[in-house]
Amino acid sequence: MDFGLTEEQRMLEQTLRGWLAEHLPIGRVREIAASESGQDPAVWKGLAELGMAGLLVDDESGGGGLTLLDAALAMQSFAHAAAPVPYLGSSIVAPVALRLFGTEPQRRSWLPGLAAGTTQIGVALGELTGRRGDANLRIDGGRLAGSTLFAIDAGAADAFLVALDRDHLVLVPRDVAGLTVTPLVTIDRTRRLAELTFDGVVPADWLGGPAGVAGAGARVLAAARVAVAADALGAAERALEMAVAYAQQREQFGRPIGSFQAVKHMCAEMVAELEPARALVWYAAYAFDHRPEEALLVAAHAKAHLAEVATGIVRTATEVYGGYGFTDEGDLHLWFKRAGLDRQLFGGPEAVRAEAAVLQGLA
């Protein structure tokens, strides 16, 4: 019985955070986030060399062959650094989908590039969390038609993993004729979302083959939700650290604001929310690989809970900062916005809980 990180996982985390501190200080994050693609190829190359890009890709394909828990820890560290990297799509959702449901040729054709960081895959799961507004992706005369919203990590994606329904996911190269990628700008400039519009695209590369795989969508969505929960955890963790550090140093009324009971209690309430939530994220990631019968439910719980915990913490942290937290210069808003996007990605809290109720037969 051991519910904790291994020495290797801690090393990985330490190495990654060290690398990020060196290569992605906040100033650099802001520059990249302000650029058109929202990425720096050198950063992604460096992370691939570090073995981060292919953490979930199997050894034979040049990856690390690790588990979702390892990847979730990495995701958390990226969020902690507000890193503008396509980790969610290219290093978590796409490899999980390919490993679990890809045909042998699909794995061979995509995984090595993902591990090497030379291929990026954006992920469009909008059809699995309810069709919103006027988006309406469908097959029409054997061709993809309509559009799907909120594809993630679209900035420099070479291809997209697109969900059509719960059983059918398809890989579509970005440069295929008939696909239009329209950037969608969100509050969080460290990640790039897009609308994908299809006009006569012939779907060639169905995940697992043309017949699809029953339930593949739900599994892939679960991995995505765990990853977003880890992202929200990282954002909240950073906001809390910054708030505590600020409270220790900022003086008002002749004393550090952290010596005021009101500020102390705000910090205590944040940590009382954060620490148990951390264990939930770990377990959700662990369950994805080791307890498949619980995995979908726990992923939903982790996503919904972390969405609320993280947005609550970034708000409180901003209050601890006072006016400085409200300024652009104060930087804290980078994580406020990261948590804000995480909250909505792949289903808001109420919607995800409604799904979780169904999974248990409670609705």
Binding site: G126, G130, R131, R132, G133, L149, F150, T182, P183, L184, V185, T186, I187, D188, L193, E195, R250, Q252, F253, G254, R255, I257, F260, A262, V263, R315, T318, E319, G322, G323, Y324, G325, F326, T327, D328, E329, G330, L332, H333, F336, K337, G340, L341, R343, Q344, L345, G347, G348, P349, E350, A351, R353, A354
Partner: protein, 404 residues
Amino acid sequence: MDLSFGPEYEAFRDELRAFLERHRERAPGGGQMLAGGTRDPAALSWQALLIEHGYAARTIPKQYGGYGATPDPLIRVILDEEFARAGVSAGLGGQGPDMLVPTLLEHGSEEQKLRWIPPTIRGEVVWCQGYSEPNAGSDLANVQTRATEDGSDFVINGQKIWTTTAHAADMMFGLIRTEPGASKHAGLSYVLIPMDAPGIEVRPLVTMTGHAEFNEVFFTDVRVPQSAVVGRRGEGWKIANTTLGHERSSLAATGQLEAAMARLTERMQAETVDGRRAVDDPALRDRLLRLQARLLAMKYHALRLLTCRLRGEPTGEPGSPEGSAVLVTKLAGCELSHQIAALGIDAMGEFGVLYGGSKHERAGGLWQFHYMFSLGLIIGGGTAQIQKNIIAERGLRLPREPRA
């Protein structure tokens, strides 16, 4: 309790409606209350017309260019309601007309009043407020911008922050430390400073919303005559606090909350997931209903406080329900505003995080803007924590913390 206005007020309302009907084409475009700092000729001539009819600068004495009517909160309510209903600008607001003018009326010299009030209410002189400083935060009196005497002048050095409209202002009214030996609160003076004085630099201050709603203002050897002090030297803190008391009716704030709630309900009926409206999600709907109750409570809370003012009953009395009631308005109202925006975002899901002119963005990103800006309001003017201290100590008479 009687929520009708009575015949004389209804007559005023009818007259106002007729006026708005007749003249609405002359009103300038744009928002409800024109931000101070506009120099649009249409706005200035609209303002002049409103003053002439007593719909703006209504209670400013005639000798200072106003309409000269006695203050009447109900008239204020009717003006707010009818201009909002007509969707027409209620004239020039901002820190000149709303804060400086009442302060000068109470504390200014006759010369200061004659010189500054008429062009301010006409919109010809635009003001900004220089109270906050970066190292002060919630400790508002911790002003470090200082003036040293040089002959009959003051020479000012330091920095102000959170200064709205500083980029467009002709003048600043600010708190400056003029009495270095005095205690924290007794060392400040209320000073009028021309924004074109040499040594003043204005830098826009970008906030988390991505916009520069505020500025920083830097002073390097800025020279003003000592006659620019309003009231006596060293009385600036007291004078600034009277000004803070001159805020407009909290009904106007409730009106904004009501408008936001109407937009929210509309949005929740428009936004769909798999064809189902957001308002049909029972968990989101339950949140909407909770906020409706809070809004109703705030609305009638404001009417209760207005009634106290109309009756001339004290509302600031420590330890009384009314004393506490006044103090909680900002705390409860700002939080409600934030919660309305939060539900709007949740109801839209991923559409709710679109911003900055994105395709599919709803209402120009207004929901996110309000979500962030209302958090700024929760923090602004001394944070919710300071508000709670005040409620506890002034409203409930709980003992102050012992001094360290």
